[in-house]
Amino acid sequence: MAMTIHVDIVSAEEEIYSGTAEMLFAPLATGEVGVLPRHAPLLARMKPGEVRVRTGSEELFFYVSGGILEVQPHVITVLADTVVRAKDLDEAEVLKAKERAEAAMKSRQAKVDYARAQAELAEAMAQLRAIQKLRERARK
């Protein structure tokens, strides 16, 4: 029997594939790479493309929109991205997040009033406790 290696393909939201393979192909930024068992440790960035897993009888295809490939002598981990990540796209997201925050910061006070925060939260807690007490009394 041919040598096999354990392969895990996961995305942040779910597990995509987990099993053994004879060989794995991944789209690296510099070109496609094929990984056999007992490969030297490798940590690489993937570009959008397809990951092919060759098991004994068949070849499986998985589309990834980028991510990270980690190779250990006996295990390969593919951390797949769920979306296409590019610097400028991420940058746009950053701007959006900042804008959302800034819009709200216009009416900002100069200093954080911890005393007020504590008081406010304590009040909310007291209200909750009061409701609890009322319930207990109602049960009796």
Binding site: D81, L95, A104
Partner: protein, 286 residues
Amino acid sequence: MAVGKEIRKQIKSIQNTQKITRAMEMVAASKMRKAQERMQTARPYAQKIRNVIRHLHEAHPEYKHPFVLERETRRVGMIVVTSDRGLCGGLNTNLLRTAVQAMQEWHEKNVDVDVCNIGSKGFAFYKRLGANIVSHASHLGDTPRVEDLIGTVKVMLDAYTEEKLDRLFLVYSRFVNTMSQQPMVEQLLPLPPAEEEQLKHHWDYIYEPESKDVLDDLLTRYIEARVYRGVMDNLACEQAARMVAMKSASDNAGNLIEDLRLKYNKARQAAITQEISEIVAGAAAV
């Protein structure tokens, strides 16, 4: 019969409220199950990326990423995860109390805090408080996706890389079980160093393209995955807390209705008794 019209009206209105709270309870219960399932499906990624990070600690990279280097703390960042909606008991209050406590501790050491809010409840709170909110995301819905968080988290990571922040924390509610949710403050950055300093054989990864680029990508994803996990946990917590809160609201409504019904029946009986005694008295007089 005109007796107890007000009481009847009151009972009716409480019954209507009870219907709503009961429906909300059931919705929350089913949403909680779904949120828990999603928590489960997100687990493999978190586990795998943690393994890779652990391997990385065992390797001996010649390049030290800023995310692993400890430096003097002048300013800290906090990512605070809260729910978007209320009616979920003390969940947000408990969380914000923990967050404010942590903030105050830093404040006493003369360290300023930048806040990043995920969820509109915490956002509204910090806005009123006047904290320095640098980024914000809300209304992620019941199925938050990683891409919804990328920008929000990157603001904090960029600030860290530019040394505007020296530490980054994640504050979220951890889902223990349906009845209990635990507010947590976890340090995201700098990454805690590996504990075991064993003398293993010296090895390092082959990096493709450059170690800096790959580590950048990997560590960014690691932080995102942790924040994502926090958001998923918080979602499950929110639904669980809402379910419990709505259940107690329905129970309360039930108690109220019971009391009112007793009162109503008593009033009705008294009215009948009075009427009979009036008739009897009238008959006796004839």
